[in-house]
C-alpha cells in the first residue's frame, strides 16, 4: 500500500535520453516505462497494456506514441489508448496507462496520474544543485529486498549510527544517547540531533578533518513518500575552541 499522491523518483535525467528505444525505468515505481517526446518532454506510462497486460516497454515508439508489441494497441503520451487494430472503437479515457512524469535532474512519476503541484523531488533537486557545486557527488542505486517500512525506519532514526556504523560514520555511542528534537510538520518531521566533544568517526579520515574531538550535528528531514534530506557535520569541540 503506497501513497499515490506523491512524486516517486524513478531514474536520473541522463538515463532517459532522447531517441532511446523504450525500456522500463531503471528504478520503477509500479513498473513504469519512460521516454522523451519529440519536444524533449519526459513522459511515463504504466508498463502494461490495458489489453493483456503485456509490458509496453516491449513495444515501440511511433512519434510521441507507444505501440504495444503484443497486439498493437497504440497509446499517446498521456497514456490514452487511441487505436485498436481491427476495431473502430477506442478504449477510452479509463483504459489508458498514464502516469504523470516530469523532471530535470531526476525523473519522477506520480502513481495517481495527476499532474499535481510542484516538480518531482523539488527539495532533493535543490540539495543536489547545492552539493554538486560544493563537493563530491555520488549517484546510484541500492536495491533492497525488504519491506519499504524497514528502510524508512532506518533512515528516520539515526541512533543506529552508534552501532551499525561504529567503524564508519558513527564512532561513538553518544549519538544514540543524544536526545533528538523533532519538529511537527504537515508532511515532514525535521529531526535534529547534536552531540558534543566526541571523537571523530573513522569516516572523517577520508576527508580532511581536523584532529581531536568534535561537536557533531545531524539535521535531517524525511519527506513523503520516502525522501531523506540530511545535513550533518562536525567541527572542533568546545574545549578545543576555548583552548585555542
Amino acid at each position: 500500500m503506497f501513497v499515490r499522491n506523491c512524486w516517486y523518483v524513478i531514474a536520473w535525467d541522463h538515463e532517459v535520453p532522447a531517441g532511446r528505444p523504450l525500456q522500463p525505468a531503471p528504478c520503477s515505481a509500479r513498473r513504469s516505462c519512460s521516454y522523451r517526446t519529440a519536444g524533449g518532454e519526459i513522459t511515463a506510462l504504466r508498463d502494461r497494456c490495458c489489453h493483456r497486460l503485456a509490458p509496453l516497454s516491449k513495444g515501440r515508439k511511433e512519434g510521441d506514441c507507444v505501440r504495444c508489441g503484443y497486439h498493437g494497441l497504440l497509446f499517446d503520451a498521456t497514456g490514452r489508448c487511441i487505436e485498436i487494430p481491427g476495431s473502430e472503437t477506442r478504449a477510452g479515457e479509463g483504459a489508458g496507462a498514464a502516469l504523470s512524469a516530469g523532471g530535470e535532474e531526476q525523473v519522477g512519476v506520480r502513481l495517481d496520474g495527476r499532474p499535481g503541484a510542484g516538480r518531482p523531488g523539488a527539495p532533493a533537486r535543490q540539495l543536489l544543485a547545492a552539493t554538486t557545486r560544493t563537493g563530491t557527488t555520488c549517484r546510484g542505486y541500492l536495491h533492497y529486498s525488504t519491506p519499504q517500512q524497514l528502510i524508512c525506519d532506518n533512515l528516520l532514526d539515526f541512533s543506529h549510527l552508534s552501532y551499525v556504523h561504529e567503524k564508519t560514520l558513527g564512532g561513538t555511542t553518544a549519538i544514540a544517547q543524544a536526545r533528538a528534537e523533532i519538529e511537527n510538520g504537515a508532511a515532514r518531521h525535521p529531526v535534529t540531533r547534536k552531540v558534543h566533544d566526541v571523537p571523530p568517526p573513522p569516516y572523517y579520515r577520508a576527508v580532511r578533518a581536523a584532529p581531536g574531538n568534535l561537536d557533531r550535528w545531524f539535521i535531517y528531514d524525511f519527506v513523503l513518500p520516502g525522501t531523506l534530506l540530511m545535513h550533518s557535520g562536525g567541527r572542533p569541540g568546545r574545549r578545543r575552541r576555548k583552548a585555542t
Partner: protein, 256 residues
C-alpha cells in the same frame, strides 16, 4: 566553522514491487571547509561501505521477522518518536486518499493536506461521531461533532443512530484483535499505542489506523480486571500464558 566537515546527503526510497525497493542515492557530498577532500573516490567508497552496513542489517532484520513471526510486536521506545510520527503521517495520508478527499492540486510532499480535508473523508466523519472520539488525539481539544449531538436517526434512512453505527464500525475494525490488545488497554502514550497497534495490525493497515481514531488511545487508568500486572509486579499466570504476551510491553504499560 573554518575547520568544519559537512556531509550533505539525499536518499529516496522508491517501491518497485511489494518487497523490492531500490534506494536511490541522488547526492552524497562530503566537504571539508578546511580543504578539499583528500580523495573523492576514497570518501565515496567509505560512504558506500556504510550503506552496505545498513543494507546488511535491514536485510537480516527482515529475514528474522519473516522467519519467526511477521506480526510479532516491536517494542516502541523513545528513540522511535520520528518513526512513529512518520508512520502515522503515511497512514493518515493513505486513509485520506482512500476517502478521495484530496484536491486535484493537493500534493502531500508540499504539505497541502489539512485536517479539514481529512474531515471530509466518510470514515473519519463516522469515527468522529463516536463520543469517545474525544481521545482521537491525546493533545487535541475535546469536542463533539454536530452529528453526534443531534442525529438520532440516520439521515440516509439506515437503522441506528450515527453514533451506534460509528461504534459498530469502529469495533469491526478492531474486532480481529484479541481482546487484551484492544486500544483501550494500551498504555500511557498515544503515539506509542498507535505504533504498537500498527505493528500488530501489520505495517500500516489504514483501516485499523482509522479505527483507532474512534478509541481511547490516550492514557487511561487500568480497570482492575484488565491489569496485566499485579502491584507486586508479577504477571498473573493467565496473562503470562496468553499467546503473544510480552513482559516488556506489560511493563511499559505499567509506566505512568
Amino acid at each position: 566553522m573554518s575547520r568544519a566537515v559537512r556531509l550533505h546527503s539525499c536518499q529516496t526510497v522508491t517501491p518497485e514491487t511489494a518487497d523490492q525497493h531500490p534506494l536511490l542515492l541522488p547526492a552524497v557530498a562530503p566537504r571539508s571547509t578546511r580543504a578539499t577532500t583528500r580523495s573523492p573516490r576514497r570518501s565515496t567508497s567509505a560512504l558506500l561501505v556504510a550503506f552496505e552496513e545498513d543494507r546488511a542489517m535491514i536485510t537480516a532484520q527482515s529475514q528474522a521477522r519473516s522467519r519467526a513471526d511477521p506480526e510479532a510486536p516491536m517494542l516502541p521506545l523513545a528513540m522511535d518518536a520520528a518513526v512513529v510520527r512518520f508512520r502515522k503521517l503515511v497512514a493518515d495520508t493513505i486513509a485520506a486518499e482512500r476517502g478521495g478527499s484530496r484536491g486535484a492540486d493537493g500534493d502531500a510532499s508540499a504539505g497541502a493536506w489539512t485536517s479539514a480535508t481529512r474531515a471530509r473523508s466518510p470514515d473519519w466523519r463516522a469515527f468522529r461521531s463516536r463520543p469517545s472520539a474525544r481521545a482521537a488525539s491525546a493533545t487535541g481539544p475535546r469536542r463533539r461533532s454536530a452529528c453526534s449531538r443531534t442525529a438520532r436517526r440516520s439521515p440516509d434512512g439506515r437503522r441506528g443512530s450515527l453514533r451506534a453505527r460509528a461504534r459498530a464500525a469502529a469495533w469491526r475494525g478492531a474486532a480481529w484483535q484479541p481482546l487484551h490488545q484492544r486500544p483501550v488497554l494500551i498504555g500511557a502514550d498515544a503515539d506509542a499505542a498507535r505504533f504498537h497497534l500498527l505493528e500488530q495490525a501489520g505495517q500500516g493497515d489504514h483501516r485499523f489506523e482509522a479505527g483507532l481514531e474512534g478509541f481511547e488511545v490516550r492514557a487511561k487508568p487500568w480497570q482492575r480486571s484488565e491489569r496485566p500486572c499485579t502491584r507486586a509486579g508479577r504477571y498473573p499466570s493467565t496473562e503470562a500464558a496468553r499467546p503473544g504476551f510480552n513482559p516488556a510491553l506489560a511493563n511499559l504499560r505499567r509506566a505512568p
